[in-house]
Point group: C2
Chain length 365, copies 2
């Protein structure tokens, strides 16, 4: 981002000035002149937003259409996206929106050997953070028992938009022993059958899916998910049904049925029951919680090393949520040298709706 | 509607001029100055739009809030709303939107003894038309085996908005032997327990629910539906998932779980499977139809006495659907003295989406 672009963007309120401790930075609020939302600017160091990767709902035509060249298949992990960089002596981790995340920044050195920045000071590590101890998502992959894990899936460079090519990426991961997403191999669009078999294994294990990346710097990319992913997304979020756009649910139902079809399968009674249960058990629990607690909320529990980061995380969540504050801090307690932050996220739409309908209000729909 | 209001509305393009045979009329396209959408004007005879009736999602607080006075409980039938009137020598039946419906008009005398108009020329009969032979809805109540039936549920008068009081309504129904929705009795807001028991019977029989109407002319009204209604709506429409607003589905899931809760029940495995099947079996059939026919459509088969009405019905469906014509006539064949019209309704959203995703297009959602 040139200085001129930055100024133009700022002038149009497209950037937001922020601080993390003594560090001042800007983030871009919207896509602007080809600069993606979530780009973060630390003085002369710009970290571009991680690009959106499109989804194919049917694998075979999707690969045929988008991959004329060989591509790598990597596991898609159900977590949140972070970009990790060094600014002066500090290693910082950004959210998708371009905020420094106090939690991810606090924990990054548990998982990432930051000596990589000594040799590559302009590196940006793109990773997924997942696990039941994360501060953002109500769900986590079945293979993470507690806390969180980091899974590197790409690298970029400061002031550059392209993602590194696979060869460079895998060499860096190996050289620095970085935790990475599982790599399933290098394929071409003719390998649909082998990939569909991998999907069936992922599906049985409740894993999310694969991301395909052309074997070239900043090549084409696409993602595809399992039926299990569609189901677990619904089960994790139906409890707060009205706080997501309703197409969140219908899109996943469609993904599920298209996934089955491409596997040559039809809905089984077990799958039908699982889909119904994903909605009904979640919402039944919501009604019970609302009766008991007079509100619908989800409790989060996150481990920090630094108390300041825990305090900053609460402030970040309250600020990043916009005008309506839906975060209630419950506690911050020492656990050995660490601090355990607990907080609730409240869901305004389902709370408002239940308050209204349990009061007997008329609905015109 | 005064002449001045009519002219003002027309001047603002709030009315649409229409003809049915030699009869000229106007319908109101939007709510305007308290005149509801769907009001139809035949010269000096105005038939006001039937009012929207609000829905309560929980019965007990709903009745407490809205019914200080006794009310009648009547069955809610899963069909389409019509208003029947006499214009000159003709008996006409209007759609909710204020169009003369050629099908309903063609068939009305099979079910409604029109001698009622000889004694009450200014009467407007409000009825639900339901059954597998209807031209509008993909679903019909389980208790109608073929063709259609008419169920009178209210009366209005020409040039007047109020619905008649219960006493007058039931007297007219009895005096002229009119087919009517089932009347479950007169209740007060304290009778929730008895009404919940009626709902359980309706639910077991796959019936839709009840409408409550204060025992007074144009009194308060509210409706409430069964879990079975939510399920059957989903099963009937999930096949064309993207052609309805997605909240159509999430609203019904919420109704279902609130219904159970008020009955003191929790989701059973059978109910979970039924909900999953409502989505997955419908969509699986959709994919099979798309593979076989290269499009998603629903076939309708309707009986007419008058061939002209069948022709007019196709024209009406094409015109009422707006700019995009999604009706394909299949055939019109004599059956004794009657005519059987067959046509397909095509669903543009699901067709467009399937074309795109089966072609492998990238989705950003």
């Amino acid at each position: 981002m040139t200085r001129a672009t930055e100024q133009a963007a700022g002038a149009r309120h497209k950037t937001q000035p922020l601080t993390y401790g003594a560090i001042e930075y800007l983030r871009t609020i919207d896509d602007y002149h080809g600069v993606p939302r979530g780009t973060a600017i630390f003085g002369r160091q710009t970290v571009y937003g991680y690009p959106s990767i499109g989804r194919v709902l049917t694998l075979e035509p999707g690969l045929q259409q988008h991959f004329a060249h060989p591509f790598w298949a990597e596991e898609k992990v159900n977590g949140y996206n972070t970009r990790i960089l060094r600014v002066g002596d500090a290693v910082l981790a950004l959210t998708r929106g371009g905020f420094v995340c106090p939690f991810t920044t606090d924990r990054v050195t548990d998982f990432i050997d930051t000596r990589v920045f000594e040799d590559h000071p302009d590196l940006v590590i793109c990773a997924e953070v997942a696990g039941p101890g994360n501060p953002y998502l109500e769900s986590s992959p079945p293979f993470i028992g507690d806390d969180v894990r980091f899974y590197v899936f790409d690298f970029m460079r400061i002031n550059q938009r392209p993602r590194l090519a696979a060869e460079d990426k895998y060499a860096l991961i190996e050289d620095y022993g970085l935790p990475a997403v599982t790599r399933y191999g290098r394929f071409t669009a003719k390998d649909t059958k082998a990939l569909l078999e991998i999907f069936e294994t992922l599906n049985r294990e409740g894993r999310e899916g694969l991301v395909f990346k052309e074997d070239a710097a900043d090549g084409h990319a696409a993602k595809h998910v399992t039926a299990a992913s569609a189901l677990s997304d619904i089960a994790a979020t139906a409890a707060t049904l009205n706080d997501l756009p309703p197409e969140y649910f219908t899109n996943r139902i469609l993904r599920l049925v298209l996934y089955l079809r491409e596997q040559g399968e039809h809905p089984t009674r077990d799958l039908e029951r699982a889909l119904g249960a994903a909605f009904l058990e979640s919402l039944d629990a919501t009604l019970a919680q609302y009766e008991r607690e007079k509100k619908v909320f989800h409790s989060f529990r996150c481990r920090f090393h630094d108390r300041h980061n825990a305090e900053a995380m609460i402030a970040h969540l309250k600020m990043a949520g916009g005008r309506q504050i839906n975060i209630s801090r419950r506690g911050l307690e020492a656990d050995g040298a660490d601090w355990i932050l607990t907080f609730d996220r409240n869901y305004p739409a389902i709370n408002g709706l239940l308050s209204s309908v349990l009061h007997g209000d008329l609905i015109y729909d």
